[in-house]
Symmetry: D2
Subunit: 346 residues, 4 copies
């Protein structure tokens, strides 16, 4: 029996993880969930969709107590907060899957530039970037998995096969991402105010979003050279889903069918990446609530540009589903356990 | 192994049922799905959320062939079409769970008034109205289960305990229901056109909706006297969910807590009806994609009116989840098999 | 030239009013808008839809200054805040149209029960409830107009003709209102968080909403007897619009056509109430951004219940449009000046 | 008095145009609106937002009759249908503003490639592409104005200043456009079915949308050389609005402020293009229902890419507002007459 805990469980990543853990078929027990805000309250009173399905109370986050009850802990904390908990938990022998950005960037200087000074830089080297399609072997033995950001998951999966195939010019990599509002988290803010978002669309953080260095790090490592990405996120009037439209300048002429072949081959055997047929275009609804990443490709010949589109649910493959996938790998379970659910459509 | 078929599988009830059957834990095999429109096409090409999860093609609906491959068949056909298939299938020894209204109304004259002349009225007596909370024992032995309408499911579950408790005046029963657009089915029509529904709300079929006689029939049977209901459905700018606000004139003073007690006791042991705590009000999102019906109650003292609110997902508890619940009962499975999933929230 | 000011101008009522004032055809000049939050900033930088259309800065609210520049002031302040400004402004000779509830309830005890102790109860008697369809003559000479709440506007206009006609039983008056989210104001809160509202519907404040006493006060005054209303507001996943479905128990048999006749006659000559034809049902989109209130009626014969439905835009006829209508009346302008715009549809 | 007609008036372009004409301050009279579907019905019964504001019936489209009553006619017809009406009307001395694509492409072969064989190619040379910011002088004297497509309006206005300034490489021009659903027209189709679009986002017609040749034609004419554009349209879950994100590879280093300067200067004096301040990003809601095009720019330095974003309402500046702007120019009215309305926000 794998004893599982979630620190910072009342946010979207935590609640989505609980939703998924409830139907996990392997020997998994959710033993401990913490939330400062809701300590002492029943989980299924705070999260009404879980009512009757989970008999557990939120606790205050005491690391000794948490470590005593768990083998693996998910950290559903804000950026900058995770690094206050992770070192202690690791010391107490608990494995960690961290939802925050605190251990995603391997270079402490880069982290400091985008976030703040890192307080446990010695852990960065051992941390594994938890994108199974890229780092499955390292995840297997990891004690600290840095679960990828939602945008990077959609972007890296869309970009990598074309880059690895050596068919694109690396100086024009454009990632136009469109996200649902749940990506902004559970806390109400002006930007998530319903009247501000309904019947509205806009871009934000153009070229300056914190997920850009994460995308660039992983592409650069994979390509073994510096890769820059022009990343522009947008907000759409919907709750879940990220549609990523990537534009790649081709270095040689190639047909859509050939490009599709590159993607199909690259992702052969991957349980959660579905490369669509020729002419099919991903849509976020098809993966809503599921751990799949759907990918479609097209070539705009006159411009010699490959258009690669990926669709994920930002809370599932973009967060909690992927975290569970990582847990399965770490624990030696079937990687797909508890994750083979279709999207909720319509 | 229970061999299951779906006739008319490409509509919303069929596709939602496939979504649920995919993760059914009992010995169930989906052997046959028919669709005139999509015959010959792979199910997971027509329904992209199922991609990679189901290896089956839509067939043309040939009843002999269907009967040869199945023990139980769901009819996901339009009203008036089911009765063209049901008699033959029953004759061939297959059990039926029918999504249409064709066998819900026990009186052929009432059916004729609201739909058209019934072509197999002899089957009406043996058909069972498939609301497990009301007719579980009869469903167990049924060959033909008439799966309830979405509105009636939400309305009957909200009304019944108060009526049975004898605390309301039967001449003022008002049901104000608010539905998501998927209730109108998969086919695009003017009323489902996105620009007509987004940022819009309206009522329709005031006092003349076909679900009214269905609600009245079941309440009248339960009360053993004629019960009239003032039923007004509304369309909301959302895809799934029915929120039903029922107004009942109290025949005697009663507190909200007492009323809650009546509801809690009535639904004790029911796996899919969740009576909320005092002061809690159901919301459709909490049951989205799930088979739960959440119920909350309140008393408006000055008016001596009980307000009872229920929330269901019209495609799940209001259609396919309930149909699966009926299948579980008919097949002797655990009634909750494949249905204990929380709602997708947010 | 009528010099107009808005105190608390950055909220939804203030910004909607500015939108409308921009195209007002009469001699009206917006001379002063205050906002503590945005003092010193250009209005068209804070409200990007107004960009290039209005050359004015938000000021801090200094009543002497405001009074010096204006003949009439709209108070777009929260409940309980208006009464801190109104007495002084009135003293300084400025007329007031108040968006808050502070002067709507004529009885200071009722106000205290629902809000807090009133600090200027002596002004209540002279304040006029600004529903022109009900109090046009008094509005004409008023110094202090209490602009009605959004729900009461839709509810009173729907209920009044039937009540005045003496055809309904006064002990069963049910008002089921469905509102867009902008009714909750400009400030982001948990209840207005996009992921909490999109694809969701719920009721709130059942029988305990502050607009209930307002509805009851006006109906009671009109009927010259105590009238109780069972009022249940709901939140819909849309930004603007209130659809009110009123249920009235008929005291005598009457046809829908007769009832329609009562409504048409009652509202004959009213510029902003549109009684729809037989069989037509109001929808919120048809009045979006406009000052119209659309009304439709139907009879559910078996239940002897009249269903009356009204649709308004909560920010326009439910707030700023009506306030401008009141200003027109107070100022002696054509009552419809600047308000004869059709709804934005789709 | 300018007598105005609309042929094909019941579609979105026609109804939006009527909404705007209702408050046009100049001497304009709408004398004739045609619709085969609704002939004989009152306009304000078919379009409930216009109720009480317009006393006119839809007629069958008889060109002689139309010409007898009008000085200028808007053709709100589908592509390929306009060219069946335009020649006759021109012959009868009526001026035309055509919403369809039939006279937008100057080359009949290009038209044939994307649509079908052109039946009045002799009119192409005299037709003027009705983007006032580009062709104002020619519009003034035109008899036949081809009103631009919605996507091209947003794209050309976003691209032109940078291209004309000679700061971009012409081989990488990427236009990622996001549109509301009303762009698909009034007729319900599978792609506009609410459950298919709500909580969903996708791309379509990648590199093959009919608006691409239109964008390329106008840019090529302006640049006097062939310009290719990689154009990818997307559908967002909203009704109105197009957000266009254009990516341009810079041929020389330039700051965001400098780029902003280029745009501000280019559009100086333009009444309907609003270049935002540094750091401001357009949003579709700010222009909803208005004739404005908001533009913001940013530079992603590492990639040397300029990101230019424009926001329009596809039905207003993207169709009927622009058509009215063209009418004003043709008729010699103030170009802004009836168009200086702010967006409906929220």
């Amino acid at each position: 029996m794998l004893r599982v805990g979630i620190v910072g469980a009342s946010g979207y990543t935590g609640s989505e993880l609980m939703r998924l853990l409830l139907t996990h078929p392997e020997q998994v027990e959710l033993t401990c969930v913490t939330s400062r805000t809701f300590a002492g309250q029943g989980v299924d009173r705070v999260l009404p969709n879980l009512r009757g399905l989970l008999d557990l109370e939120f606790e205050n986050p005491d690391m000794e107590e948490v470590a005593g009850k768990t083998d693996i802990v998910f950290l559903g904390l804000p950026h900058k907060s995770s690094m206050a908990f992770a070192p202690k938990l690791l010391e107490l022998g608990v494995k960690i899957i961290d939802f925050s950005a605190d251990y995603r960037l391997r270079n402490a200087d880069v982290y400091e530039k985008w976030y703040q000074k890192h307080t446990s830089p010695h852990l960065l080297e051992g941390a594994v970037y938890g994108l199974p399609e890229l780092h499955r072997p390292e995840i297997r033995g990891a004690s600290l998995v840095a679960n990828p950001g939602c945008y990077p998951t959609g972007a890296i999966l869309a970009l990598l096969p074309a880059l690895k195939a050596g068919i694109v010019e690396l100086d024009v990599i454009i990632v136009d991402s469109k996200s649902g509002i749940s990506g902004a988290g559970r806390t109400a803010k002006e930007v998530t105010h319903f009247p501000n978002r309904s019947e509205n669309s806009t871009a934000y953080s153009i070229g300056s979003h914190r997920h850009a260095p994460e995308i660039e790090q992983e592409l650069s490592r994979a390509m073994e050279k510096d890769v820059n990405v022009c990343f522009v996120p947008h907000l759409l009037p919907m709750t879940r889903g990220i549609l990523t439209t990537a534009y790649l300048k081709l270095s040689k002429a190639i047909s859509a069918v050939e490009l599709l072949g590159i993607y199909s081959q690259h992702y052969e055997g991957e349980p959660f990446v579905r490369v669509l047929d020729e002419g099919e275009i991903p849509q976020t609804q098809a993966v809503r609530g599921s751990n799949y990443c759907d990918i479609g490709v097209e070539i705009v010949e006159e411009s010699r540009i490959a258009v690669v589109i990926s669709a994920i649910d930002n809370l599932t493959k973009g967060a909690s589903g992927q975290a569970l996938q990582n847990m399965n790998i770490v624990a030696g379970f079937d990687e797909t356990a508890g994750l083979l659910y279709p999207g909720l459509m319509p």
